[in-house]
Structure formats: C-alpha cells, structure tokens
Amino acid sequence: MGASGGSSVALTISGLSKTYPNGVRALKNVSLSIGNNMFGLLGPNGAGKSTLMRTVATLQDPDSGSITLDGIDVLRQKDQVRRVLGYLPQEFGVYPKISALDMLNHLAVMKGINSSGERKEVVEGLLQQTNLWDIRKKALATFSGGMKQRFGIAQALIGNPRLIIVDEPTAGLDPTERNRFLNLLSSVGSDRTVILSTHIVDDVRQLCPRMAIIAAGELLLEGSPNDTLGALSGKIWSKVVATDDELRAVETQLPVISTHLVGGQHELRVYADASPGSGFQPVDSSLEDVYFLNLSQQAQRPHAS
C-alpha cells in the first residue's frame, strides 16, 4: 500500500509525440516518470504502447519530446542506452538452424560480456531460469510459442540490464507458462527499471507497483494500482441483465464501463457515486474497472487535443 517504489526516478519521458507517415498519431505529448521497479503500461491494441516501448528501446525516434535514463539522453546516446537495455519485442523470430545455447552465447558477446567463463555462467543460468536447459541444443526454429517466449525473456536478461522493456510478453502463453514467466520477471525486476507493456490487466496487478494507462496515444492515468483502486472504492455498481434489449436500454441511460458474460447473462458495470438505479449492487472495484473506466471516459471525450 501507499506510494510505490520510493526509489528515485530512473527514466523520464517528457512530451513525447509521434505521428506516422500514414497519419496515425501514435503518441500525443506523453510524459512519464518511471523509477527503479516494475512499471506496467496498460492499453488496448493500437494504443501506442509499442511505439512508446520501441522509442525507449532506441528503435525509433519521436517527432518531439525527450527521454532520459539516469542522465543518458536516450534519443541521442542510443548506444549508451543499448548497453544497459534488455528488450523483448512484442513479436520476434529467430534465426533458422541456431540453438538456444549458441544464440544466447552470441548475444552475450553482443552485450559486452567478454569473459567466456562469465558468458557460460550467465547463459547457463538463464537457460536454467527459463527452463530451456534440456532443449538448449535444439534449433530455435523448432521451438513452440511458449519456448520461444521464454527464450525471448532469457535474451532480454543477459548482462543484468538496467532497463528492461518487455512488450506484451504473456500474449500467447498458456496459464502455467504465464505464471512462470511473471515469477521470473518479478524476481529480476526488483532493483531495476522494468517496463511491462500489456493489455492484460492481471499482469499489471500481479507485478507492478506503478502503472500507466495509455490509449489512442494519450496517457490517461499514471499511479500505483492500489491508489487508483482506492479512488474507485464504492463507486462501481453491477447489474445482471438477461437480454440484449435490456442491456441496450441500460446503455442508453447510464455510462456503462464494461460488460461480461456470466452464465449466458450480461453482467454490466457502471461507475457512479451513488446507486444508479434498481438492480444495481455495489461491488469491489478491480484494476480492470480502472482500466475500462479510463478507456470509456476517453472514448466519450471529443477528439480535440
């Protein structure tokens, strides 16, 4: 509970804007301060998360704005950033006909680990950690989705990076793999800056002391999950309706923030200071409500800015 982290600010993003040549405005004046801990970046697909992550990971330049990491100008001193960066892109492939062991060893060289003894140690450690040890000599190209994802995290962790960026790491993982992955991430993420981008609210809830919600290129909210939850306490109301018509009726009257199917019936949630009407029950707010509330509030705002 309370203010998260407490450590000093490591990564400062200020006024970041980016418009792609096709006219899509991926980032609109985004500013963020991220400390030495895990930071969750929530947002729907196409929100600009990946653009933000790639910009921090030195893979593209913004139109305006600046980023600093411990005094390094990320946009100019890219090589300095890359030396302390571990990056797992949202989608990645592997070279054909190369084993996990060889590839990690190669990447360790790339990350400046010059002692072959240390390299061996770190690569073997990572293979153990990511449970790839038994298949370390198999060609990466034959890996299943989960194995590949674990290889991805292993490579991101080589060389004790100061800044770890993982973009949608749990997409496509089965629940067991996802849990294992989150464990690993939390074990390394305690004393460094980790940015976890995801559209799965649970990931953030489980791992991140601080988070931000981003949609349509705009920063909607920044804070700790607990603080934001606290702000909603007692203001989320739930109602179960049976038919589509009923749902439609409620939608026209009230600001519905989300609906779920429960046993074939619609459970809908409404944000309101007091009970919005008959049949509504107060419920515990979840991080998901924070997320959906912010999204729906943004959707209702006129697109001016």
Binding site: T58, L59, F92, P96, H106, N131, I135, T142
Partner: protein
C-alpha cells in the same frame, strides 16, 4: 465443366490483374524487338550479314533462346498457380468444398497455360515492331509475313510452354514446395548447359538423336539447319515433315509433347484431393519435431523460486567490438553454411568444374595439355557466374535476414555499431566467395591431376582467382549490398543488379566501351604463359582499384543508410544517416579520393597518353581511308625490290624504333611522278627519297601521304626510300592493347613499314559494318587474266620479290629473329645485336621480328638436296611438341622436296609467340607459331588428330606454295597458297598416320566447310574463283585435292603440281634491280603472274578423260552430292560366301553462290563398299568406284566374310550434306 470454367477464369482474372504478366510480355517484346531492330543484339543480329532478321530462321532461333531463358518465367507462372493455395493455406477451405480434380487442376493449368502463352506472345509483337524501327538494317529485313512469326511461335514456344510448364505444374502440385520448383528450374537449366558442353566437347557430329532428345532445341536447330545456306535460312521453316533432316524436328516435338502429356497424366493420377493427404505429407516432419520437443517439455519443472543471475562484467572497448564482429560473422556464416542451397551451389560448381575441366584440353578439334590458363578458363568460366549469383543472393539474404526472421527487434537494440554489423555481413559474403574460389581452384588442380598434367602453377591460380577475379567480386558484392540497402524490396534489388550485370555487355556492344563508366568492369586481358599478365597489369590494377574504391564508398553510404529500428521511411533513414555521417564521412571521402586518383590516372593513360577509340571509331577510320583513297588503288607505282632495316626493340617498354631503306623500281612502262604511301600503323615518319621530292598531301593520322618527285621515275629506274619506323607505347590503354608488343614475345611484321600505294587489307569486310559506314559492297576481286591486276601478286601487292637484310637489337636477356641467315651476333651498350640477311635469295616482301627469352632445340637435317638447320625457339615450359614439330619438318622436307622442288633455304625455324593471337604464319624460312595453338599439343589416343604435326607441315608447305609460287592479284589465287599448303600437309599426315585417320579428320573438315558456306556473308565461289572465303580455300580445297589424288593417283596429282610449280615459280623475280644485282635493269617490266587457270590446266593434263568431270566439279563449280544407302541385306551362299544386296541412292546438285540448287545429271564414279568388323573399326571387304548414272541402283556383291556395314562413298570423299546416311547396317537373311 462449369466448375472448370470457374477455376480457369479465376486464374486468368488473377493473372491479368497482376503486373508481372505484363512485365513478362514487355520483357519478351523488348527482347525480340532488339533482336530485329539492333544489329548489336543477339546472335542473329551480330552474326551472318545476310540472314534476314525477320525470316523464319531468325524468329525460330530467337524463340528457342527466349523459351530457354524463359524457363524461370514458366516456373513462376505454372509453379505458383497451384502453390498459391498451399502458401496461403486456402487449400483448407478449398478442399472441403465439392470440387472435382479436373476442374481444380485443369482450371489452374489451363489458366497458367494461356497466361504464359500470352506473356511469350510478346515475342511476335516485338519482332514485328522491330522491322519498323527506322534505324534497323533495312537490307536485312524482308517482307513481313504473319506466318514467319506465328509458325516458330506455335511450333517452338507454345510446345515448350506446354511441356516445360506441365512439368513444373506437376512437380509443384505433387511436392507443394516452391523451393523444389525453383530447384527443378535451375537443375533443368544447368543440366542442359552441362549436357551441351559435354556433347560439344565430344566433338560428335551426330545430330539425329542428340537433336531429338534436346528438350530446349539449340542442338536440334543446329542439327536441322547446320548446313542451311542463306537462301534456306531465309525461307525454310522447321516443319513436321519427316523429310526435314530425317524428321529430327518432328520426332523432337512429338517426344516432348508426349512427355508433357505424361506429366499431366502423373499429376492427374497422383494428386490427392483430400486435406488429410495434402497436410500429412507436407507437415509430417514439422509435426514430429514439435512433438519431440513437447515430450522434453513435459519433464519435471524446477523450483519456481527464481535464482539470482550471476553478476557479470560488461566492457564495450575495442576488444569487445572485435569480439562482436567475430561472433556476428560466425553466426551469419554458420547460417549460410548450414543451408542446403549454398552447398547445392558448391556441388554444381564442382560438377561443372569437373566436366569443363575434363575437357579443358580440347580446343576445337585439337587435344592439348590442360595447362593452367586453360584449366582456369574451364573451372573459372562458369564459376564466375556462380560467384555473382552468390553475391547477389546472399547480399540480399544477409541484409534482410533479421527482418525476414523478425529478429530485428532484438538485433537492432543491441549495443552494436552499424559499421560492425555491416562489416560482418560483408565478411560473411567474402568468406563464402573465397570458399567458392578455393573450390574452383581445387577442382582445377584435381582435374589437371586426373588428366595427367602435373606441372601445377599455384601462383597462377592464386593470381587469377584471388588477385584478379576476387576484387571484382568484392566490387560487385559491395554494389549488391548498396542496392539492397537503398531499395525497399529484395526482389527489386535483385532485378536492378541483374539489370546492371546484363546491361554492361550490351552497352559495350553498342559502342559504350569505356571501363570508367561500365560498372565494375575491367578491360579485356589475356594471360600468356610466355608473358604472364604482362602489360595488362597496370590497366587491370587501376581499373580494379577505381571500381573497388567507388564500391567501398558506396559501402560506407550503405552503412550510413543501413536500416535500424522499426522505421523504414526515407525521412527517418536520412535522419539516422545524418547522425551516423560524422563518423563515416572521412572514410567515404578517403575512398572517393582513391577512386578519383585511380580514375584520373586511368583516364590520363587511356585517353590522354593514348588515343581512345571504340570499335566503331576504329571502323570509321578504316572506312574513311577507303572512301578517300580507294580511287588510287590502280595507280601505277614502283615496286619494292629490296628492304634493308635497322630495328631496335625495347621489350620492357613495348616499343621499337629503327630505320628502313626500301629500294623501289619502276616496273611499269610509264614514268611515275608520284609516290603514294600508306602508314596503317602510324609507325612511319621522316620519309625521304634519294632525289628531290615534296609532300603533296597527307591524311589525318598520316594514314596516306602523296609525295611528288621533281623528276618522274622513268621505266626501269630505281628509287630509294628511307624512313624512320617505330612505335612507342605510352602508359596503358583501355583494352585494345597492341598484341604485337610484349615484355616477352614481341612479334610484329612489315605492316609497320611504309606500304607503297593503297592497301586493300585496311578495308572493312563485314557487310553490315560497310553498310553502316555507307560503303558499297566489298569489291569483288579481279577476274583471272585481268591485264592490270595480273601484273601484281596477291600478297603483298606492293612488290614482286625482294632481297632482305636487317640488323636488329633487343634487350640483353632476349633473342630476336627475322627471316634470313644469321650473319653476326654481338653485344653493344648492354643490348643484343643480330644481323640477318637473305643474301641474293628472293623472298616475299613480308618479314617479321620476333623477340623473346627463348630456349632452342636445334638439329641439322640432311636431305639429298642439302642440309637444313631445323630450329625451334620455345618457352622453357613448353617442351611438349618440339619433337613433333621437328618430325613434321623432316617429313615435310622429305615429301615436298621429293614431289615438288628443292627447298630454297638452308634453315627452317619455328618460333613461339604469346597467345594474344592464335595462328601460325609462314615467313621465309621462319614460322612464328602461337603458344595458343601449338607447343602444348597432345596426342593421347591413336584416333587423336596431331594438329601440331599438321600445322607445321602446312606452314612448311607455304615455303613452296607462296614462297616459291605466288599467284596474281585475282580471284582464285589464295587457293594457290592455302589449298596447296593444306593438301601438302594432308599428304604428309596421311603418310604418318594412315588413310583411315585422315578420313576421320576429313569428315570434320567437311563439316567445317559445310558450316562455313552456311555462314557465308557474300556468296560462295567455286574453289578456283575463291576470294576471301577461308572455308573454301582450307576445308574445301584440302578435301577436293585430297580426293582428286585418291581418284587419279597421288603421283599423278603431285606431278601436275610439280609441273605447275616449275613453270610458274618466282614470277617476276629476276626482271628487277635489287640490292644485289644491277644488271637486269633493262628488262624490268612486270609480266603476268600465274592464276588458277594454269593450275587447273596442269591438273587436267594428268587426269584421265573419264575423270575430267572431277576437275570441273572440284574447281569450277559448287557441287554437292546427296548419297544414301537405302538397304543392305546379305545371304550366305552355299560355298560359304556372302551375297550382299545393296540399294543406294545418288544425287548430284550444283549450287550457286547463294545456295540455290539445281540438279546435275549423274555420270560419276562413286565408291561402293562392304565392311565388316567392330563398330567404328570396320575394315573393307569390298571397295570399288562404280560409275553411277541413275539415282537408284542396286548392287549385288559377293564377299568372303560376314558383312556388317555397306553403303556408298563410305569415306565421305565427296561433298555430301548428310554424310551420316551413306552407310547402313547389313541385315542377314
């Protein structure tokens, strides 16, 4: 059927919406347009000057070529039509629907077929449009007939599309892998190329089965039209007729249509129409692999508590940079080296190397030792193409690999400099190229060993492969990397690169010959064992440095522009480039400075120190000479009677200087007031006469000067001309180096001396080049008996006979020779001096100087007529043929002295010169002989032709036929030198190797004659009227005379030649004043030289009446026989003998100069023979010349042994276009 229509129209719609279809159409239109509109494009355009560019033959040839190179397009269209469903997984949806196999396969196939036919139909449109190009050579464009375009298209292209397309379709449908389809295409292409190489290396004249089995048609077309004359090529079609070349075309087409049908049958039978079957096979292996890994996965999971990762040290100094470079390079290299395609390329390279290497020692009909330059040519020739393909493919693969595999997200965020990244890609390509070069070298060494050649020249391998070829590959690789960096699509990049690669030779043939703008090119060079890379080195070096530096600068730009991160837009890449520029700019500047320096130096040498002329400019000079001075051709001029020259050769500077003193005498009946001089080589200066004179006019480049004598030269009077001669080589040229001048192996002749009057040899002779220069057709030679021309001999026209004396010097390590007996040899000023003189012996005014570091093999040969010093001057490494040359010289001296006349000299010398020119040439008692055609000859099998022996005998023969008897400057006279020398050599050969081998050899000579007349650019003359047609004076002349000797008797013919020689030799030699004799001045008027009429008369005199027709046919007409064995059966007789019934056909035709034929009545003696024995080793049981008077005749012949073969004219003594059908197997009854 409706469903079929559905698939068919769907396929068509898709194809006709696709840009590629129109690109293919445009490609073929352009190709055939250029074939017709440009004379510098394609074999037909560049080839024979009389074949119409829009005639059936030209269209057929171009269509075959297009269908060959179009294999890859057929693969692309047919292969992808069916693979599309599998690549995009639409088959899952498709095959759950009720569709019939016929509709699916048939629709897809038919759609592809129609599309491909459409794409290739551009060939017809382009060719047709080409005929309207205003710049096209209108004399070579006949009337346009639709059928001329349509027939070849239907019979060649459409059928090719049918069966090759069907094969691709079937393989694609059955394997469902695009990779296999491409491999199939490449394999078909390569196997065909290898097959053609092997077949031509066997030198087989077989054209029946090879033509039928030829899937592409190049051999087939050659087989059918090999001996077609111009008229036939301009009018005949390849038709279905079984009469046409024994039906080769018909059977070929039937065979391949049948195979196409078979392929379609196979796909019909074996293509499964169910998803299970389709998935099971293509995904079976992958599924198995995944399962295996999942099993490993299921093992117990270790503790969920994450252990701490070890602390490591990171350092990013230069040591790490280097480690990064190594690791990346290793990784990339491993990626390639673990890939099958690379090893497939290596395997193909080895296969081609072994094949070509095995035949490295075969040059045309000659067998030679596989010396290293030949072996390199064999293994490197094709390898070069592979090297470029590898550079093209892997430059793209390596640049795009991170993106293609989606690894770029991780890779681009690594702390790695772009330059290191780029350098490792470049290094990986460099290493795989080095592997290929080394493989080529090892293959070459292996094949030399296999062929029993153990004189390994590793240094030459090293220089050629790693010093000359490798940097060019580097240049190309850098260019490939640059283009792939700039363009945003790999395949567009490939297209641009291939375009550049193909464009260079095309630009060159269009006259754009400057190395400085022909991307990545070096000037042409030739390695010579005598002279190494010699004077080619500086031009090679600087052009390589120039292009490599430019490419390296582009490499730096590539680094600056290299893709990194997720943005590929030009703007963002330009921004990145600007960030990187400060570090890279100095390097780029350095490379540009190197390029500018090398380029300037090259330009200074090629364009300032030397005059730069492209082929067209050089032709224009020739044409200009003819335009302006042809008028003086018949001007009466004095003749050269003596030459005295002092020449100093500076081999290390490729220069010489000297003075000549030429004695001229007025041998006409009129006073001569003007002396005209041609200075063809721009080597003459400071001309003086021994009496007052003035220069009247002189042409640019001093090509032609006219001097006026104050006192005209009276008839019989002599005049002395002195001048400086010489040539100073300055720097280097952009190709076109003079072959005469070399560090080791200088060989130039009296072309560098002043030539009196107009020199006809300067004239252009290629008809299309003459038209280009607005010159009329090359003038026919004068008729025999022409009073003016008969007073000159044919070569050289400016003189009758001369006496010759020279003092020549060269560098201290070299020996220099010239015709004449060595008088004195001394050293002065650190140079070697030699004095040669012919004394009072008359020689032709044709002398040469040959200087090199020689070893000598000498021998004194005693003949009844006197001793002859035989000497062979050779490169120390080339000892192979010395004995052979000496043996041939002895045999020739024996034979010629016995049957013709005594040898007029007491020495005969053969001298090796560098292979920049490939010939042997007979000067008086002196024969320069190219290292490229002699000195490395090798006779392995008893059936091999000993070319060295033959050529030596031929050149020795010229000491009689040319150096004793020379004909008038009229038609026919060339045969008096060449055909008689050829005949002489054939007889010398026959006496050593036997008549059987000679028949084999003459069979090839016959082939060369028939092909020669098929490529005739003017009109074919009869032998006695030959003008410039080498195939007539060598191949036909040799054959006619040899056969004549066989018919009338060798002794009879030799007697005729002896009589002819003794009556006419040394014409005009003694009615002149020369350096040794001033007493004959009064009778100094030229008399007519002999011509072929005198030869024919001499032969007639020895020919019995019944064979007189042979003399007419042989000398005065073009006669062709069509002899053929129809059937042969044998029956054992009661007395143990065999009665053979042989039916033959004999026809005789006369052709005119264009090849139009008319039948001649038959009353000829033709050999009828019955043979027995093993194949190719048959011995005659019966052989007799029978008189045939009708077309068909049946012979009944009784022989002692069981016959195997029988027929008419078994040894091909008569000229017959289908020589293969003269014999037939005897069937036993």
């Amino acid at each position: 059927m409706a469903l079929f229509w559905e698939f068919f129209t769907f396929e068509l719609k898709l194809r006709f919406k696709s840009l590629s279809t129109y690109v293919y159409f445009l490609l073929w239109s352009t190709f055939s347009f250029l074939c017709v509109a440009s004379e510098n494009f394609g074999s037909i355009g560049n080839g024979n000057g009389k074949i119409l560019l829009n005639a059936p033959f030209a269209n057929t040839y171009n269509d075959i070529t297009a269908a060959f190179f179009g294999i890859i397009i057929m693969a692309a269209i047919f292969g992808t039509s069916i693979l599309r469903d599998f690549q995009r997984d639409t088959y899952q949806i498709l095959f759950t629907k009720p569709i019939s196999k016929f509709a699916y396969l048939g629709g897809r196939w038919a759609g592809s077929f129609v599309t491909t036919v459409f794409a290739f139909s551009g060939l017809m449109l382009g060719a047709w449009l080409g005929t309207f190009a205003p710049w096209a050579d209108q004399t070579r464009i006949g009337p346009n007939h639709l059928w001329n375009f349509l027939q070849p298209f239907l019979f060649v292209v459409v059928i090719q599309i049918f069966f090759i397309g069907s094969a691709f379709f079937t393989v694609a449908a059955l394997t469902r892998k695009i990779f296999i389809v491409y491999i199939q295409g490449v394999a078909l292409f390569m196997i065909y190329v290898i097959g053609i190489t092997v077949f031509s290396a066997t030198r087989s004249l077989e054209r029946f089965w090879s033509g039928i089995l030829d899937p592409i048609g190049l051999l087939m077309l050659d087989g059918v039209s090999r001996y077609w004359t111009v008229i036939e090529k301009n009018s005949l079609f390849l038709t279905w007729s079984p009469e046409l070349a024994r039906g080769v075309f018909l059977y070929n087409r039937l065979l391949w249509i049948a195979l196409g049908l078979l392929a379609l049958g196979a796909v019909w039978v074996f293509f499964p129409m169910s998803i299970e079957a389709l998935t099971a096979r293509s995904q079976g292996r992958r599924a198995a692999k995944a399962k295996e890994l999942e099993l490993l996965e299921a093992q117990p999971v270790r503790s969920r508590v994450a252990a701490r990762l070890p602390m490591v040290h990171q350092a990013f100094g230069s040591a790490n940079t280097f480690a990064q470079y190594l690791s990346l390079t290793r990784l990339r290299l491993r990626n390639i080296l673990r890939d099958i395609p690379y090893w497939a390329i290596v395997a193909l390279l080895v296969a081609l190397g072994i094949n070509n290497g095995y035949f490295a020692g075969r040059i045309a009909e000659q067998n030679v030792w596989p010396v290293t330059y030949l072996m390199l040519q064999a293994v490197e020739g094709n390898a070069t193409l592979f090297l470029y393909i590898v550079a093209t493919l892997y430059a793209a693969e390596l640049l795009w690999r991170e993106r293609d595999t989606h690894f770029s997200g991780i890779h681009d965020a690594l702390p790695l400099r772009e330059s290191i990244d780029w350098l490792s890609r470049f290094s990986a390509i460099v290493i795989i190229e080095l592997i290929l070069l080394t493989v080529a070298m090892l293959t070459g060494i292996l094949m030399q060993t296999v062929l029993g050649y153990y004189h390994y020249e590793f240094l030459q391998y090293f220089k050629e492969l790693y010093v000359v070829t490798f940097p060019q590959i580097l240049t190309y690789t850098l260019l490939a990397l640059f283009i792939q960096t700039v363009v945003s699509n790999k395949f567009v990049g490939h297209g641009i690169l291939i375009g550049i690669f193909v464009l260079m030779p095309i630009l060159f043939s269009f006259g754009w010959e400057n190395t400085l703008y022909l991307v990545g090119q070096v000037p042409a060079f030739t390695y010579s064992d005598m002279n190494g890379y010699g004077h080619f080195v500086p031009a090679l070096f600087w052009s390589i440095v120039y292009w490599l530096a430019i490419a390296a600068a582009l490499g730096v730009v590539s680094v600056a522009l290299s893709r990194r991160g997720s943005e590929d837009s030009l703007g963002s890449r330009a921004r990145l480039a600007r960030q990187r520029a400060p570090r890279l700019a100095p390097l780029a500047a350095l490379f540009l400075v190197i390029a500018a320096t090398a380029g300037s130096w090259y330009f200074y040498n090629a364009h300032v120190l030397n005059e730069y002329l492209n082929a067209k400019a050089r032709r224009h000079i020739q044409a200009d000479y003819e335009h302006r001075f042809k008028q003086y051709e018949n001007l009466l001029q004095p003749k050269v009677t003596a030459v005295d020259a002092v020449i100093n050769i500076y081999p290390d500077r490729r220069s010489f200087d000297g003075k000549v003193r030429i004695t001229l005498q007025n041998k006409t009946g009129q006073p001569i007031a003007q002396i005209h001089l041609t200075d063809q080589k721009q080597s003459v200066s400071n001309v003086h006469f021994d009496r007052p004179f003035r220069l009247l006019t002189s042409a640019p480049r001093d090509l032609y000067s006219i001097y006026a004598l104050d006192q005209p030269l009276a008839p019989g009077e002599t005049l002395t001309l002195t001048s400086d001669v010489g040539h100073q080589s300055r720097g280097f040229r952009d190709g076109n180096e003079l072959p005469e001048l070399a560090y080791n192996g200088t060989f130039f002749d009296s072309d560098y001396f002043p030539y009196i009057g107009y020199n006809r040899n300067v004239e252009l002779d290629d008809p299309r080049r003459r038209r280009e220069e607005q010159l009329p057709s090359l003038e026919e030679m004068a008729h025999r008996g022409n009073p003016a021309y008969s007073l000159n001999n044919i070569f050289p026209i400016e003189s009758d006979w001369i006496t010759y004396h020279t003092v020549v010097s060269t560098s201290p390590d070299q020996v220099v020779l010239a015709p004449g007996y060595l008088q004195r040899q001394w050293q002065a000023g650190g140079r070697n001096f030699f004095e040669y003189s012919m004394g009072s012996t008359h020689v032709l005014d044709f002398v040469a100087y040959i200087s090199a570091r020689y070893q000598v093999r000498k021998e004194r040969y005693q003949t009844p007529q006197g001793d002859v010093a035989l000497e062979v001057y050779y490169d120390p490494a080339h000892t192979y043929d010395l004995d052979d040359m000496l043996a041939s010289s002895r045999a020739g001296l024996d034979y010629y002295q016995r049957v013709y006349s005594p040898y007029q000299f007491t020495q005969f010398r053969i001298l090796e010169f560098p292979r920049y020119r490939a010939f042997a040439q007979s000067f008086a008692n002196t024969v320069p002989y190219s290292e490229g055609m002699g000195f490395i000859g090798r006779v392995v099998k008893p059936t091999d032709i000993d070319f060295t022996y033959f050529v030596t005998a031929h050149e020795l023969g010229h000491q009689w036929w040319a150096h004793q008897l020379i004909g008038a400057d009229v038609e026919g006279s060339n045969m008096l030198s060449e055909s008689l020398a050829e005949y002489s050599a054939l007889q010398v050969m026959a006496h050593k190797y036997g008549r059987d081998l000679m028949h084999r050899y003459l069979r090839h000579e016959l082939d060369r004659y028939l092909r020669g007349r098929s490529g005739e650019v003017r009109h074919e003359p009869p032998l006695a009227l030959v003008q410039r047609e080498a195939y007539v004076w060598y191949q036909k002349g040799g054959q006619i005379l040899y056969t004549l000797a066989d018919y009338i008797g060798e002794d009879k013919l030799n007697l005729a030649l002896h009589n002819f020689l003794m009556e006419y030799r040394y014409a005009n030699a003694n009615n002149q004043v020369d350096a040794h004799d001033n007493t004959r001045a009064l009778a100094a008027t030229d008399l007519p030289y002999p011509d072929t009429r005198m030869l024919v008369d001499a032969i007639r005199a020895q020919t019995p009446p019944e064979l007189q027709y042979l003399v007419d046919d042989g000398f005065n007409r073009i006669v062709l026989y069509d002899n053929k064995a129809i059937s042969a059966t044998s029956q054992k007789t009661p007395d143990g003998k065999y009665k053979v019934t042989l039916e033959v056909q004999a026809r005789k035709l006369q052709a005119d100069g264009n090849g139009a034929e008319t039948p001649l009545p038959l009353a000829d003696y033709i050999e009828i023979g019955v043979f027995s024995g093993k194949k190719d080793e048959e011995k005659p049981l019966y052989l007799k010349k029978e008189k045939l008077t009708e077309e068909h005749k049946t012979f009944v012949i009784v022989v002692d042994q069981a016959p195997t073969l029988a027929g008419i004219d078994p040894y091909n003594k008569l000229i017959d276009r289908i020589a293969d059908d003269n014999m037939i197997d005897v069937t036993q009854r």
